[in-house]
Amino acid sequence: MELDLTTRILKDPRYQQLKARRSRFGWWLTLAMMLVYYGFVLLVAFDKPFLATRLGAGVTTIGMPIGLAVIAFTVLITGFYVRRANTEYDALTEQIASAVLK
């Protein structure tokens, strides 16, 4: 990429905004995913009886909905990021592109 194009993008306040917002959002969501997964793994490692607690009179344990919830959370958090990136961040990117690529 030519240097002046880079300089022009760098000067665009929308670029700084895009970079800061997306990076913050991405790292927060990464942290959330790590907390959920490693929380689950540590629960498995340290408190097995809790996960084997029965829900009500049947044999279904609390571990089952928790496990499924981790799977659902993984898909939903990905969807959450992609939705915002494909609308908000891409709109910002297009504005920057149309401003600098004239």
Partner: protein
């Protein structure tokens, strides 16, 4: 370098004796007994082969340039790519291995599958779109973007080839065992068929054929698994509680029959509803989790798929689709595993004299297919399992071939002056070589326990490829020297620690129990740390003139990785 090192390690492992089952780490397909020839399954598989060969013919007509060969010309949509990525991930080992793990351990199987899933959001948040914006054909394009090309490419190609080699051997041995089991063919015939068909797909159809084979297989596998899970749930009136209750009853009955007291038998039956022995100590748990989570973000054949879509938007959509399908698939395998407890373990038709599954532990899903859908559906699932391996090895071979032709030949040897036709020729020659090597190693490793190989591939990907990729993209002070030294340290430490871990040192190499120097199930926690610290330390110490250039290049790289402005459009024609 690492081809020689690899040869030495493989040689060291090659002559060592037989082994018993290792821990779950590798979704091992295990040793299998040859079964009577299954013509229904062979017929269905033949249909799949004919169909995919037509696709390859169509793809071959479209595969003219290097960009077509490596990335299908960038013309794959996010939805299609999502299915293809999911297909790469839903290997035969994960379909048969996880459903078998659920049948044996219940909840433990779920823990295992969750580990494979949770890397995807991290890939999405930190890497997917940046990869698409910076790269063209291979992940080395991204890792070497602002660095001195030769050393970084050599490292990336080594990382790719080592990961591909271990993954490929695991798949080939799995294919041979599985086909012996499902089709009643000889082991070596199965391995040769897989090698030959895979070469045809990759050689003639390049990424286009490889992607479509993977998409078709993913659809067939998802449809077949959905049908099985549906039949199981339908039997229990769509009540998971009824299914769990029956499974606990079956497991308790088995324990009682083995001579346990009623109270012990009931406790053992109920143990499938909670975590058991799968995760023993927290360090192994975290380390194993890291290998699975970050290994996903460093597998070359998966990373390559991000370059087959036209832009960052489609790249993000692909991971969302992939995550959705994979998550859905793991829920299905969980239901299938419980279905196997209730349908297969209760039916003497599927059991041997000792109460084990006919054909070995990994037959859970296959027998269940027979139980819920009869012989024709059994043939269908067997054919899909074969197709699965075929599609995965094609993707692996393609990524190995592009590391050699694009990174080593074109960039390192020809200094970027190779023309597209010559590069394409080199990648085709490499494809043939990799195919032959895969067949030979597949046959050589027939009797070996290869359970550790898939988890080793994940550990190397997490400790070598992922740190270099992440630091080069996100850390401005990263330099060529830091990336290369840190990357090789991560690579070497993950291989060495695996070699002296219980799964290899004791189980595969046959040393005395307790003699392994490294006590944990996975090296990732340590080797990833070594990789990251190595990159950081040697970058900070780097005061060379190159390092000034490396750091100065960060801003321009970041602008492009964030905006995609200036990125090659649909992988540039």
């Amino acid at each position: 370098m690492s081809a020689r090192m690899l040869a030495r390690i493989l040689g060291a492992l090659g002559f060592l004796g037989a082994a018993t089952a290792a821990i779950a780490a590798g979704a091992d397909l295990g040793q299998a007994e040859k079964q009577p020839t299954n013509w229904t399954a062979i017929g269905m598989f033949a249909l799949f082969v004919v169909g995919t060969l037509f696709i390859t013919k169509w793809a071959a007509a479209k595969t003219k340039s290097a960009a077509d060969f490596y990335t299908a010309g960038g013309g794959i949509t996010g939805f299609q790519n999502g299915l293809a990525i999911a297909g790469d991930y839903m290997s035969a080992a994960s379909f048969l291995g996880i459903s078998a793990a659920v049948m044996v351990g219940g909840f433990d199987g779920l823990i295992y599958s969750i580990g494979f899933l949770v890397g995807w959001p991290v890939v999405t948040f930190l890497l997917a779109e940046r990869l698409r914006n910076l790269g063209k054909f291979t992940f080395a394009d991204v890792a070497a973007f602002r660095f001195s090309q030769t050393p970084v490419r050599v490292f990336a190609a080594s990382g790719t080839l080592v990961v591909v080699a271990f993954y490929l051997i695991a798949q080939m041995v799995g294919a041979g065992q599985l086909i012996k089991l499902l089709f009643g063919l000889e082991y070596w015939i199965a391995v040769v068929i897989v090698g030959a068909l895979m070469m045809v797909y990759v050689l003639f159809g390049g990424m286009t054929a490889t992607t479509w084979v993977q998409i078709i297989k993913a659809c067939l596998l998802l449809a077949g698994a959905s049908f099985m899970a549906f039949m199981v749930l339908w039997h229990f009136g769509f009540s998971p509680e009824a299914m769990f209750a029956k499974a606990v009853e079956v497991k308790s009955g088995i324990a009682a029959a083995a001579g346990k007291s009623p109270a012990d038998a009931a406790a053992q039956g109920f143990s499938i509803m909670g975590p058991g022995g799968f995760i023993k100590d927290p360090i192994s748990a975290i380390s194993f989790g890291m290998a699975l989570m970050f290994g996903t973000a460093g597998l070359p054949h998966i990373l390559m798929r991000f370059f087959t879509v036209p832009n960052a938007k489609e790249a993000r959509k692909s991971v969302l689709w992939a995550t959705t399908w994979i998550g859905y698939f793991y829920i299905l395998t969980f239901i299938i595993g419980f279905g196997a407890i209730t349908f297969v373990l209760t039916n003497p038709q599927f059991l041997d004299a000792k109460g084990g599954l006919l054909g070995g532990g990994n037959m859970a899903a296959i027998h269940l297919a027979n139980a819920v859908g009869g012989n024709v559906f059994l043939g269908f699932i067997s054919a899909v399992a074969f197709a699965t391996i075929l599609a995965v090895v094609a993707g692996l071979t393609l990524s190995g071939a592009s590391a050699v032709s694009h990174d080593l030949y074109s960039t390192v040897i020809m200094k970027g002056k190779a023309d597209g036709a010559a590069e394409l020729k080199v990648s085709r020659i490499t494809t043939i070589c990799l195919g032959i090597v895969a067949v030979v190693l597949g046959i050589a490793f027939e009797k070996q326990n290869i359970a550790f190989m898939v988890s080793l591939a994940f550990a190397i990907a997490a400790s070598a490829n992922f740190p270099v990729l992440l630091m080069s993209v996100l850390w401005k002070d990263c330099t060529t020297r830091g990336a290369v030294i840190g990357g090789f340290l991560g690579l070497a430490s993950s291989v060495l620690l695996t070699l002296v871990s219980p799964a290899v040192w004791e189980v595969t190499l046959g040393n005395a129990k307790g003699s392994a120097l490294f006590p944990y199930a996975s090296p990732a926690l340590f080797s990833m740390t070594i990789g990251f610290v190595g990159i950081w330390l040697f970058s900070m110490l780097d005061k060379s003139s190159r390092s000034v250039q490396d750091r100065a290049g960060f801003v321009a790289q970041q602008v492009r990785s964030e905006t995609g402005i200036g990125a090659s459009g649909a992988s540039g024609h």
